[in-house]
Structure formats: C-alpha cells, structure tokens
C-alpha cells in the first residue's frame, strides 16, 4: 500500500531497492540537495506501509524529482526523474507519481501551464505510459542523449532513436492547449532549443 510522502535527505540512505537498478541514475549528493532546496514540493516518494522500516530499509517503492522553470506562457514543470523499484512495477505506481505531481503543480502556488519530460525515442514502454496519462510528443530533440564522444549534433536531418529524445508535454487547463500538439514526432530541434 503506497502513501505519497515528501522526500527527505535521509531517504538517500534507503534507495538501494530502486537505485541498484543500473538504468536508474545515481546523482551526486549536491544534485539531490539542489532539488530539495529549490523545489521542495516537487521531490517526493511513494512509501510502502506494508514494509516495516525498522526491519527492512527497502520501503521506498519509487520517487519523483521535478522542477519548475520558464517564464510567462512557458512557465511549466519539468520531470527530471521518476523511477520505481522492480517489485512495484506494472501496478501503475509511476502513473500515480505523475498524477500526484500534476495535482501539486496544477494548483497554488505553482499554477504551471504544462508539464514536460524527456524520454528516449526507443523507450516505447515509457512513451506509451505517458501517452496514457495524457502526454503527447511535442518535438524530437536531436542528440539529447549524446555522449562526449558523439559530440554536439550539427544537423537535424540525422535521427537516432537511441540518442534522440522526445519532448513530451501535457497541458494544464489554464494553458488551453497552447503549449502542446497532438503529435510532434516530426518537429525536430537541437538540445539548446529546450533550455528555459
């Protein structure tokens, strides 16, 4: 049974269950601190009340890290990371975390216009999950996941599903659909175009 709780710095000691997954990024301490300080409302976790934390450290089943950015009509929430422990997958927990984020940022004091996130173009599972939640692809960011060896992209003509990202968005009511489009897979841009 999950309860949605604020993330505390001390939770960083209890994330093995989630962060031992090699596809889950382990950020430096400073990165987590930045999110706790600047966006305290938007960093939270799902906690399993069926696990006794005195006996078992692994009672955090997932967490969400997000931030707000942009100005005026571009004022929005960006999902930096959402991740779920393997034992709690396929039960819509990631969706619950996203819905909770929406509830928080679609109201005071945030009142954002839309929520966005980046997902690898070949991550069909994640794309489907977000589309089910009402997100749509806004544009394709060429070379978003390029490594230093790959270098910065110098053309929008070359696509690579493993290196490009879809910028997916969901409009909030106050946005009136201004910031989203039905399917932006063919809209391409460079990584620097997605800075706010």
């Amino acid at each position: 049974m999950s309860t949605i709780q604020p993330f505390e710095a001390t939770d960083l000691f209890k994330l093995d269950n989630i962060n031992l997954d090699i596809l889950t990024e382990n950020f430096p301490v400073e990165f987590y601190m930045e999110y706790l300080i600047l966006w305290p409302d938007l960093f939270f976790k799902s906690l399993e009340t069926t696990i006794d934390s005195q006996v078992n450290n692994n009672n955090i089943s997932g967490y969400m890290m997000a931030k707000t950015e942009g100005k005026a009509h571009e004022w929005h929430t960006h999902i930096t990371a959402v991740t779920v422990a393997s034992e709690f997958r396929r039960i819509s927990l990631a969706s619950r975390l996203c819905n909770s984020l929406e509830a928080i940022t679609d109201s005071n004091p945030h009142n954002v216009n839309f929520i966005d996130l980046f997902v690898k173009c070949n991550n069909d599972l994640a794309i489907m999950l977000y589309e089910k939640l009402g997100y749509s692809v806004y544009r394709r960011v060429i070379g978003y996941y390029n490594s230093s060896e790959d270098g910065y992209p110098n053309t929008l003509k070359k696509v690579n599903d493993d290196k490009d990202a879809f910028d997916m968005r969901k409009s909030m009511q106050r946005d009136k659909g201004r910031s989203t489009i039905a399917d932006g897979r063919k809209n391409k841009c460079y990584p620097h175009d997605v800075k706010f």
Binding site: F13, D16, L36, D41, T50, R96, A103, I104
Partner: protein, 797 residues
C-alpha cells in the same frame, strides 16, 4: 601586502618553519599593533610551535576564554579563535567568542557569521541564539536584504529550536525545556498570517514537535491548514492535518480533509484515516468503498482498502476482499509483500485457495506463492516450469525466476559453515542465471558475496562495477567489498583500491564538506521543510560506520605497505573532532543489508558474510589501536586513548575483543596494547600466541590472517621503542618465515578449490540439478587465476 605575509605564515606553520614564522608575525604586529587578528595569530603560532608547552590559561584562556578579559568584533580574529579553540578541543569557547562579541558589538554581519559557524559546528543552541540576533539587527543594507527580510530570520530561529529539541536535547537545561518551546511558538505565531506553505510548515513543526499530543496546538494546526486544502496540494501539510485531526478526534473534519486530499492524491495512509473517521461517523463499509473508488479509481490502494475496511469494521478479512485484490494483483510482484502484511489476519489455506483461483502460468504468480510458502512445488521445479520466459523478456527487465534460483543458493550459502563445494555450486547456479537475467541485482549481490568469501576480490570487484555504485551508494553498499579491504587485497595499483580512495575523496571529503553550505542555502531559499532532514543526513554521513571503516582500512594499509601514517592520523583526529563537537560520539550505521531479502541480522551475519562483519565496537577498537600505534611510534601521550579504552572495554577487554574481532585482529590488538600499556613486556609471549595456523585456512580468512600478521610485524619492525635485539630479531624472522610460506599457502588453497570442483563434477545429484536447469559447470580457471593474483599481491608485501 599583509594578506601575502599572512598566507605565507600559514604555509610556514604547515612546514613547521617557526623561525621564519615568528619573524613574519613580528613584522605584522609592529605594522598593525592594534590588530586583534594578528595578536591571536601570534598566539596560535606559539601553540603550533610547542603544543605540549602551551600555557592555555595565560596565553589564551584569560584573554578570550569563557570569562576572558578581551572581546573582539574582528571577523577574521573570531574565525581564527574558533579554529584555535576547536584544535584545543575547547568546543564551548569556540562559539562563545561570537556570543560575547555580539553583545558588545552588535551587528548583523557578526550575527550572520556566528550563525554560519554554529551551523558548521552543528550547534543548534548557538544557531538559535544567533538567528535571534539576526532578527534584531537585520537592516536594508545587509547582503541578504534583496531577498530576506527581518521576518524571515524568525523562521530560522524556529527551525533551529526544532533542530535543538530533535537532535541535541542534551544541550538543553530543564528551565530551557520549559521556556524555549513557548518562546519559539510565540515568535512564529506572531508572524501570522503566513506568507507561504514553508512558513506554515515551520509553525506546524514547532507545535507538533515541541508540544507533542497537545490538543490545543493540534487544533491550531488543523485550523491553519484546512482552508488551504481546496486551493493547493502539499504533502507535508497533508501529513500534519491528518495526524492532528486524529489527535483532536474531530472525525468530521478528518473525514472531510481526507476526502479533499484523496481527490488529488491516491494515498493509503489517508485512505485508512478516511475509513476510520467514516466508520466513526456511522457510514457503512460499502458506502466508503464507493467513495474511495470515485476519488482514486480502481487502483491497488483502492483494492487493498477492502482488506483494511474489513479489519476496521469486522476485525477479520473476508474471502471476497482477498479475492477482489488478488484478481488484479496475483501476478504482480507486490502481492506477496501486500499479503504478507495481512498474514496475521488470514489463514494460509485461504490465501492458497484464493491464489489458486487464478492462472499460475505467469512466473510472477508462482514467485508470489512461493514467497508466501503456499506453493507445493520446489524452487527447481518452478524454475524449470518458467525458465523459457527468460528468453522472451526485455533485456532490461528483471525476471522473477531469480526467486527460485536464490532459494537454491541460499539453502547452500546460509548454512552454518558452507563448504567450498557449496560455494562453487552456488556460483555455478548464479553465474549461469546471470547470463539470462543480466540486470538482476538480487542475484548479482550474491555473486559478489560468494566471491568475496572465497577471497577472490578482483572477480567480486568486477561484478560490483556492473552495479555502477556511486555517490551516497558508496556509503550504504560498499561494505560488501571494502570491509577489511587492507587484509583482503591491498593492491594499490589495482582499480579496486583506486576506486576505494576515490569514493572517500568524492563523498566524505567532497560532498560531506559542502553540506553545511547547502543547509545555509536552504535557510536563505526558505526551504524550511527540508532543513531538519538535511541536518540529519549530514550528521549520519559524518558519523557513518562506512566512513570510519574506510579511514581505519587506510591506516591499516599504511602499516602493511610501510606508508606514512602521520597525515592519516591527523585526518582521523580532525574527523573525530567533527563528531565530538556535536556531543554525540556514536557511529551511524547506514550500511544496507536488506537488499539480500532474507532477513539478515546485521549484528550476527551468516558465515558467508563473515568478512563483512564489522561492528561499531570493532571500529572503535581499531581507532584505539591506530591511536596507540601512533602514540608508541611518536613517543607521545594522548589522554584520549585511555578514555576511549575505558569507555569501550569497561574493564572486560577479552570479552569485548572476542565478541567483535577476528582471531587475528585480537592477536594484533593485544600486541599493540601491550606495547602501549606495558612497554612491550609481554611481546615475546604474545608474538608466539596461537591462532589457527595459516596452513589450515582457506578462503578470505587465509589472506586476512596472513596480512594481519604481516601488517602487525611490519609495524613492530618500524617502532623504535622496541630495542631488545632478541625481540627485534624474532620479529624479522617471523616476517621472513611468513613471506617464505606465502606461495605454499595459496597453492594449497588453490588445490583445495580444484578438489572441491572435481568433487562437484563427480556428484550425480549436482549433475542432475544442473542438467535439469539447463546450466553448465563453472569455469574454474577464472577463480584459480584470481587466487594467483591475490597470492602475488600478498607475497610482495
């Protein structure tokens, strides 16, 4: 110009060039005779020059001590005095200089500097006092005036008081326990209406924490939060209102609050309160079920709420509720965890029969029933039933087939004394499985543990690298490969050691040192709700068992490799002061064992993990040992050592040593203790004391025993205090004999592994098992080559 000379002075102090140092400070004192900073610096130099001859009272105490005659407002002088007093371990004086200064020369800058130092020293009493001064003296010209107002520093005070009561109650007198909560409450209350959620959270924290279960305060909390529920969603405020509405037993308000919250957040805690308050209001279970469905939808929490509802209304779970839940979740990995939580209210037969209503074609379904002990098949039968699913799953997905493999493995490895055959068979099963379920870290962890137990550190390490452990994870999981590092594989050129060193640098010397700065920024950015957690995080990292374990291993490695101990001892002493200053001299054991999912008792690890058993007492004993070595080597005295010996052993040294150290560690400690306490009177006898002969050892214990002996003998060989030629010759001979035996010892171990491998290969039962599972025998060459690598490292020391 004076800055340059000042910088030069500190460099000269580092190099102990005091002649030139005194010349330079003399020059500055003549140039700036009224400078209190240079006056303090001159005194500091005197101390650094002859710490044992330094007359504290005359040179410093009478001037700047608690009742000192002098008070300075010079920030640089105060900063140096702070450093000076801390080096002298006079912790109250280090912040007292600021407190005295602010009353004579009150300025915002001084108060802010005091706050910073107090935060750095984790002294929340001083933080609170400093923040009140910041309230008093903040003005529009201060550096923060563009984004912080006078009002904000009141909240800094509130959080400091909350931190004081939560983390340092030992600093509070009885009178302060009565007065401070009221003062904090009034200070914050007077600032209503609150401008933000964060301010409201400070108010609620003060009320709840400083006035626990106080109905009036609980009522105030509820009144402040309830109006915000319709307009905003805040998880911290959610917790406050639900908790405090329960305290005042206002069921209608609790019910209404939960209903509003559940519209936005699907939260099981809230659902439970919703059910309880709904029942108290006379609503039926069915009505509440419908309401929950309309609020959160058909989710896991919704379906589980039926079980909870049954317990609240009827104190027993119905078959229908269980069926309703399992209908959707029988083949989801969470169900074994969820059902396990309710097992005291369910009988096994019912769970089994309900699970059996649903298809068992899914590997997750069978894994769940297996974990709940209601599956009649064996783990190997279940693996064979589901192994084909490994071929069709996504590479990045984990398979629940690991549950069955781990059952087989744990039966072998969790025995009282697993044999070489047991470990080799386990590795066969694990390595074969890992090829098919590459990303599964459950099985990977057991591979690492098994190789560590065999003493095959390089292979264990290469598996560890696959997990990409970094940052805070180094604190919670590095114990798997770095416990007793110096006596397992002290190869300084290998990536194993380089990574060890890097992890210390990045986390404990890098990130940890930056945390006070982040906490300060949290205050400035008004992230009040996160500050207590950040403070606690910093504290746990500062006192981390893993951090101290690594410091000890570095020192032990220095002994084994004949490296300089001095800088490492100095570093350890600085780390010690960082925890001593808080008044809490205990370690924080952040090491995680729960990822093994088999109820490991960390105070008594199974034999297969014995090399990782390093208790907090063991860490303390090793600290004492290293301090004793330093005292004996440098012919110095250290009053702290005797204090630590008394508090750690409490006059029962043999028992405490036996309970916490390995045989070899006890042997080593007794020798060093004898040198320290008795001038080595019993050295000859202790050197020849019996431990299990190395020739009878295998696995990690071989390297550990060998290297503990080498390290101790080399340390003794370098100690000038040992003058007796017979003893010195004995030490050298023992070292020589030890080195001479290294090759034979490891060759013998390697032969035992080969024999165990042959025994397994000729065992019909084993062969049948491997055949049934579709597994191939383990390649032995990798293991024997690794043992050879360890042998070469060890032999060269």
């Amino acid at each position: 110009m004076s800055d340059k000379i000042e910088a030069e002075i500190f460099e000269l102090i580092k190099k102990s060039n005091f002649r030139l140092c005194n010349e330079r400070i003399g020059q500055l004192r003549r140039q700036y005779p009224k400078s209190s900073y240079f006056e303090v610096l001159e005194t500091y130099i005197k101390y650094k020059q002859s710490p044992t001859k330094f007359d504290y009272e005359k040179l410093l105490g009478e001037k700047f001590g608690i009742n000192g005659k002098l008070i300075t407002s010079d920030l640089k002088a105060l900063d140096l005095l702070h450093t000076f007093f801390i080096e002298l371990e006079r912790y109250p004086e280090s912040l007292n200089v600021y407190e005295r200064a602010i009353f004579k020369y009150p300025t915002f800058e001084l108060a802010s500097a005091w706050f910073d130092k107090s935060l750095n020293d984790s002294n929340f009493m001083h933080m609170a006092k400093a923040s009140l001064q910041m309230v008093k003296y903040s003005n529009e010209n201060s550096e923060y005036s563009s984004y912080l107002q006078n009002r904000d520093f009141n909240f800094w005070y509130g959080i400091s008081i909350a931190a004081l009561f939560k983390f340092q109650p030992h600093r509070i007198t009885e009178q302060e326990k009565r007065i401070l909560p009221t003062l904090a409450y009034k200070t914050i209350s007077n600032l209503k209406p609150f401008n933000s959620h964060e301010e409201l959270i400070v108010f609620c924290t003060i009320c709840e924490q400083l006035f626990p279960n106080d109905r009036a305060k609980a009522s105030e909390i509820v009144q402040e939060i309830f109006p915000t529920l319709e307009k905003s969603v805040n998880l911290t405020l959610k917790n406050f209102i639900v908790h405090n509405a329960s305290i005042i037993e206002d069921n209608q308000l609790l019910f209404n609050s939960c209903q509003i919250i559940l519209k936005s957040i699907d939260d099981y805690d809230v659902i439970k309160h919703f059910l309880r308050s709904g029942k108290a209001l006379g609503k039926s279970k069915q009505e509440l079920g419908q309401l929950i469905l309309s609020l959160v939808g058909d989710t896991r929490n919704y379906r589980l709420s039926f079980l909870e509802g049954d317990l609240i209304y009827d104190s027993k779970i119905t078959d229908d509720s269980l069926k309703f839940y399992l209908e959707k979740f029988h083949n989801k990995a969470c169900s074994s965890i969820d059902i396990n939580n309710y097992k005291n209210h369910l009988d096994e037969a019912t769970i089994k029969s309900t699970f059996n209503l649903f298809s068992s074609e899914d590997v997750i379904h069978d894994a769940n029933t297996f974990k709940l002990n209601i599956n009649d098949s064996t783990s190997s039968e279940l693996y064979m039933k589901h192994k084909e699913s490994l071929n069709s799953k996504a590479i990045t997905d984990y398979s629940s087939n690991s549950v069955f493999i781990l059952d087989l493995v744990q039966k072998l490895l969790l025995k009282e004394d697993p044999s070489l055959e047991d470990i080799l068979l386990s590795l066969t099963l694990l390595e074969n499985y890992q090829v098919k379920d590459e990303h599964n870290f459950d099985t990977k962890l057991w591979i690492i543990v098994s190789y560590m137990h065999l003493g095959c550190i390089p292979i264990a390490y290469s598996n560890y690298l696959d997990l990409k452990i970094k940052n805070v994870q180094n604190d919670i999981i590095d114990h798997l490969i770095y416990s007793r590092m110096s006596t397992l594989f002290p190869q300084k050129q290998h990536d194993y050691f380089i990574n060890f060193r890097e992890s210390i640098r990045n986390l404990y010397e890098g990130s940890l040192n930056r945390l006070p700065q982040f906490i300060r920024i949290a205050f400035e950015r008004k992230a009040y709700s996160k500050i207590l957690g950040m403070i606690e995080f910093r504290d746990k990292l500062e006192r981390s068992s893993m951090k101290w374990l690594k410091e000890i291993e570095m020192l032990q490695l220095a002994g084994i490799s004949n490296d300089k101990r001095g800088p490492l001892i100095k570093k350890m002493q600085e780390s010690w002061r960082n925890i001593e200053i808080t008044g809490n001299i205990t370690f924080s054991d952040n090491r995680d064992w729960s990822s093994f999912n088999c109820n490991i008792n960390k105070k008594e690890l199974p034999n297969i993990m014995r090399s990782m058993q390093v208790s907090e007492t063991a860490i303390m004993i090793n600290i004492i040992k290293e301090l004793m070595i330093d005292a004996v080597s440098t012919n110095s005295t250290n009053g702290k050592i005797d204090e630590l010996i008394l508090s750690t052993f409490n006059n029962d040294m043999s028992k405490i040593l036996e309970m916490n150290l390995t045989e070899d560690e006890i042997w080593s400690f007794n020798i060093i203790f004898d040198l320290y306490k008795n001038n080595g009177e019993n050295l000859t006898k202790l050197l020849s004391a019996e431990t299990i002969p190395l020739s009878n050892r295998t696995m990690w214990n071989l390297s550990h025993g060998y290297l503990m002996k080498v390290g101790t003998l080399k340390t003794l060989d370098n100690i000038k205090r040992i003058k007796d030629p017979v003893t010195k010759s004995n030490i050298k001979k023992q070292l020589q004999d030890l080195r001479g035996s290294a090759d034979d010892l490891y060759k013998s171990y390697s032969n035992k592994i080969k024999q165990a491998h042959e025994n397994l290969a000729s065992n019909d039962e084993t062969n049948k098992l491997l055949q049934d599972l579709g597994f191939v025998p383990l390649q032995l060459s990798r293991i024997t080559e690794t043992i050879l690598m360890v042998q070469k490292t060890v032999r060269n020391l």
